[in-house]
Amino acid sequence: MGILKPERIGLDDFADQPVSICGKSFLAHKSGALYWPAERALIVADLHLEKGSAFAARGQMLPPYDTRETLMKLAAMIDHYNPETVIALGDSLHDPDGAARMDRSDVESLHMLQEDRDWIWITGNHDPKIDRMLAGYVMPEIVVEGISLRHEPRPGTVTHEIAGHFHPAARLVMRGTSLRRPCFVGNGLRLVMPAFGAYTGGLNILDLAFEPLFGLDGLAVWMLGHEGLYPVAPRLLRDD
């Protein structure tokens, strides 16, 4: 049975949703990007550029358009928010050689995005080094207004942190059907961002890996939809 339109209209057109971390206000976007209006900073996690060509090098010829796709998506976000600073939270490249495999035109697109704004590459486990060709500042983490931006979340119930690394996804079962989507997951004190890259899969937030990061209470989840970003009650979520 196909349901085509929601019969109750309530939460339409929420392309982004307000998110608060330790009192600071952010906007989480349905694309998986996070915008910090007070700092005019756009934050994205886990771009995994050149994942396609990394597979091709091992004999699996995945479509070589993932870098282009990811950069186009990023360009749209930059267009939308016009940030002064862009911060990539690590694993921006799928592997340390990724930059060398990038298409010239993709490198040029990246440089165009970097014009007139600061660009910060946080390093991650996939990209401990960033090729200088990709410009920008490279650092293991950065603290802005008391909020730490890093790749891998610190274990334990840490606060004042925005991180990536885990590619959080949530699974919803309703009306006999199931839906699995990347998501933001947080508790008001820290936030784990979804992966932004075109070929990135997701890890269910009910997985053991997330257990040490958040206490039992106050978990907040925003699932990425095609038309909007949707805050979803954790009790509706399911294991894989």
């Binding site: 349901i3 339409d12 894989d240």
Partner: protein, 860 residues
């Protein structure tokens, strides 16, 4: 089965003046058993002497297999022949491993009794690695195997030596094998075998089919310069005794919908009790579970009743098969796993629960009983609902006339071609021009263009992308002489792990745990009961009970690739809605059902409940003529319904439903949902359909116009989950995505995710890509049945019969009852998210009592 294992005399007869038909040892064997070689067996011998490839069409029990092997036995039993290769003389290829093993057993005995010294061996996925290795160097004279093994053997550099002496290839159950991707791959492999052994000829063994020419063309190389199809010889054995088929009549009311035929279980049980061994066929695995459970519930006599379907663990299936063969069972509930060829026992009744959906499959299943030509097979049809009564009647008529469903002619798919090209490169560097000609000699690829072929090579080598190239990672390299070779040995290893066209949907193991341990994260639990489709498992809410492997189980949770279940105390499981029937209603049976509806003179012969139902329909609405489609519109509980009766099968109806709702949305009628079964399609809207049609704002002719297969289809496919699944299958077969191997990948879910991402990216950046083309071609005949939908739309042009009614019509009841039973189709996924978010909002506002509202049934 053979009773006179006496050693045959080795005494030679004096040479006869004319060549005797059979050599003395074999002739003696026949006469010792009191048999005469049958006419078709002699005809095949004759064809072999003239080196003709032949299709043998014969009913079960006609001695088909022996006919196929006899020429090889004659040749191998005769004088020693000069060898130029490894000595492999005959290949027997069957779609099932078990069938290959079974046939070998039935072949070894006569060979021994004839006193012939012929080495036969099977080679399947179950054969040990050491033995398979040895078989490549020192093969038997007769090898019994499956299509995948041929592809594997052909990918090794020693293939030319291995197959140099090949004389005969026997293709069993060709009617089941040829019209599939597996058949495409086998056709390409046959073409290759002909190159390696130019003298080789083929013998196809088939059940009766509507159009033998498709199979005859499959058996011979297509080398005619024009588009003419060359055909093999044909030997047909007329059917034996006519099957005796009845339709179960019961006192109870026949249900309006459903397929399980639960209402008739007592009668089914009584029939089992009255026979020696009964096969109970159903159309889907979970129907088998339900039937098995229901039969045991009323099994007061404790009859040994078994269960057999593809989700059960192999050892469990083997046990049931052995028990059948040993005569220890009285009934087996089975799915298509028991459709083909194997004799597991002396079946004297076949019961079909639910309508058989196709005339040919039905005949094949009925043929499982009384496996001898001169005795009639006995079948009992048990319709699951009122429409199925009509369908069962149609199947009964078709069986009496011996009418078959037509096999759709097909073009070989490009994903299979890509796999084959890589396999050829793994064997040895190939010349593209020669390979192109070879490929085109296979019937499914006879119309392949050079451009398509070159694109397939490009795909194999670098992925074949339009805008960017992986040249430096290419899998194929051009040698100075123009031949293409694999760039490194790892490519061949990868190929061999991924060979074949059978891609199962991700399956999860079902593991039994104690209810208490299931709660802890470390539960590893007890034995594995079998496997379920991931798409089924992920729908289960924790605590749901369902029937599997003959037990009522409670769903505890999923971990990685396993589903944890515990034994449920409940006697009354929640029966899962499991994708309905696997097979859609065949075109042929559909035409018969339409004719029956249009002819009130037939109705008195139907069960009274059904006759009354149709009469009532003709009073309240109409019944369409055979060449019309009936469309009814009526209001009901504040909504407006449209029900159409195309009779084109569930898959085509679902596609039609998707496309119609898009159009109605554009027309401002606010469609809310739809539901489809094999016969009809119902959809409902906020807008008043009847009024819009009456004043001309909505034209049904426009709504059902063929042009919906253009842009609307395209736009919908972009989002369709079925299309993504189709794409995944093509991507695995073509080698873009690796198959999952045990221990290699964590969970199927992740694989599904990533192919979906690849599909999205490819569609956006390279919409003309070969794999998208292949997936589209599959969708046309596969899960979306677009071809059939197209035929339907063309057929009903100017033949729409509209009835506007004041209330629901009798004929529409079955399809409308499916509302709420089927899962939400893939389209409006954001609507679900929105609803989940609303539930959260309501919770926050303190207004929510529950977050789940029933689909399609709450107020507008």
């Amino acid at each position: 089965m053979l009773t006179t294992p006496k050693k045959a005399g080795r005494k030679r007869q004096p040479p006869a003046p004319k060549k005797p038909v059979l050599p003395p040892e074999i002739a003696a064997w026949f006469s010792r058993r009191g048999w005469q070689p049958r006419a078709h067996q002699l005809a095949l011998l004759d064809a072999a002497r003239q080196r003709q490839s032949t299709l043998l069409i014969a009913p079960t029990g006609a001695g088909k297999t022996l006919a196929g092997f006899l020429p090889s036995l004659v040749a191998l039993g005769g004088e020693k022949r000069p060898r130029s290769g490894a000595g492999l003389f005959t290949l027997y290829i069957s779609p099932l491993k078990a069938l290959a093993t079974d046939v070998e057993r039935n072949l070894i005995e006569p060979i021994a009794e004839m006193g012939l010294k012929i080495r036969t061996e099977t080679r399947t996925g179950d054969t040990s690695a050491a033995r398979r290795q040895r078989q490549r160097v020192k093969p038997p004279q007769i090898m019994l195997t499956t299509p995948e093994q041929i592809a594997l053997l052909l990918s090794h550099p020693d293939a030319p030596h291995l197959f140099a002496d090949l004389d005969t290839v026997i293709l069993d159950e060709l009617h089941a094998l040829a019209p599939s991707k597996r058949g495409d791959l086998l056709a390409l492999d046959l073409a290759r075998l002909r190159t390696l052994a130019p003298n080789m000829r083929t013998v196809g063994l088939s059940a009766t089919v509507a159009r033998p020419s498709e199979l005859r063309g499959y058996l011979v190389p297509q080398t005619a310069p024009d588009s003419m199809t060359l055909l093999s010889e044909l030997v047909t054995v007329e059917g034996g005794a006519k099957p005796e088929i009845s339709i179960l009549e019961v006192e109870d009311e026949i249900p309006w919908s459903g397929h399980t035929a639960r209402y008739a279980m007592q009668e089914v049980y009584d029939a089992i009790r009255a026979h020696k061994l009964t096969l109970v066929f159903v159309n889907a695995r979970l129907q088998a579970e339900v039937a098995f459970q229901e039969l045991w519930r009323i099994n007061d006599d404790n009859l040994p009743i078994g269960l057999h379907h593809g989700s059960l663990e192999a050892p469990q299936r083997r046990k049931v098969e052995a028990a059948m063969a040993a005569g220890k069972l009285r009934a087996v509930v089975a799915t298509s796993t028991l459709d083909l060829g194997i004799d597991w026992g002396d079946v004297d009744l076949v019961i079909h629960l639910g309508a058989p959906k196709g005339a040919s499959r039905f005949l094949q299943r009925i043929g499982r009983s009384n496996h001898r030509m001169d005795e009639p097979s006995r079948g009992l049809l048990v319709p699951g609902n009122r429409f199925e009564v009509l369908e069962c009647r149609a199947a009964q008529q078709a069986a009496e006339e011996g009418a078959q469903d037509a096999i759709l002619s097909r073009s070989g798919t490009l994903d299979v071609l890509a796999q084959h090209i890589l396999g050829m490169a793994c064997e040895a560097p190939f010349d593209p021009d020669l390979l192109f000609n070879e490929v085109r000699s296979a019937l499914p690829y006879a119309d392949l263009t050079r451009q398509q072929f070159d694109r397939a090579i490009e795909f194999v080598s670098t992925g074949g992308y339009a805008l960017k190239s992986y040249e430096r990672f290419a899998k194929l390299r051009r040698e100075p002489n123009g031949k293409l070779r694999v760039s490194n040995p790892r490519v061949a290893q990868q190929y061999r792990l991924n060979v074949g066209t059978i891609v199962d949907s991700p399956m999860l193991k079902v593991r039994l745990v104690s209810a208490r341990r299931a709660k802890s994260r470390t539960a590893i639990g007890g034995r594995v009961l079998g496997e379920v489709d991931e798409y089924f498992a992920e729908q289960l809410p924790p605590g749901a009970t369902f029937v599997f492997a003959g037990e009522v189980l409670r769903f505890e949770g999923m971990r990685d690739t396993e589903v944890f279940v515990s034994r449920a105390s409940s006697e009354d499981p929640m029966v899962p809605s499991y994708g309905g029937n696997k097979f859609p209603l065949s075109t042929h049976l559909a035409a018969r059902v339409r004719a029956m509806l249009a002819n009130p003179k037939d109705w008195p012969s139907l069960p009274p409940a059904v006759g009354q139902w149709l009469t009532l329909q003709s009073e309240r609405s109409v019944l369409p003529a055979t060449d019309e489609v009936l469309i009814e519109t009526f209001p009901r509980s504040g909504r407006h319904f449209l029900v159409a009766y195309p009779f084109e099968g569930r898959l085509a109806h679902q596609t039609l439903g998707m496309l119609l709702t898009r159009r109605l949305d554009r027309a401002g009628l606010h469609p809310l949902g739809f539901v489809a079964n094999d016969y009809a399609l119902g959809l409902w809207t906020q807008g008043d359909l009847t009024a819009h049609i009456a004043d001309g704002r909505l034209s049904l002719a426009d709504l059902f116009d063929e042009d919906m297969l253009g842009d609307d289809l395209d736009a919908w496919l972009a989002e369709s989950n079925l299309m993504k699944r189709t794409f995944r299958l093509a991507a695995v077969i073509a080698g873009l995505i690796e198959r999952r191997h045990p221990g290699k990948v964590k969970s199927g879910r992740q694989v599904t995710m990533s192919t979906d991402l690849i599909y999205d990216v490819l569609r956006r950046h390279d919409p003309g890509h070969l794999l998208l083309e292949a997936a589209w071609a599959d969708a046309a005949t596969g899960l979306l049945d677009i071809r059939r939908l197209g035929d339907f739309l063309a057929r009903i042009k100017n033949r729409i019969r509209h009835q506007s009614l004041s209330r629901v019509s009798p004929l529409s009841v079955p399809v409308l009852l499916e509302i709420g039973r089927e899962a939400v189709a893939g389209h409006a996924r954001d609507a679900l998210l929105r609803e989940a978010a609303e539930a959260l909002a309501e919770e926050a506002m303190g207004t929510s009592e529950n977050g789940h509202s029933e689909a399609g049934t709450h107020r507008t």
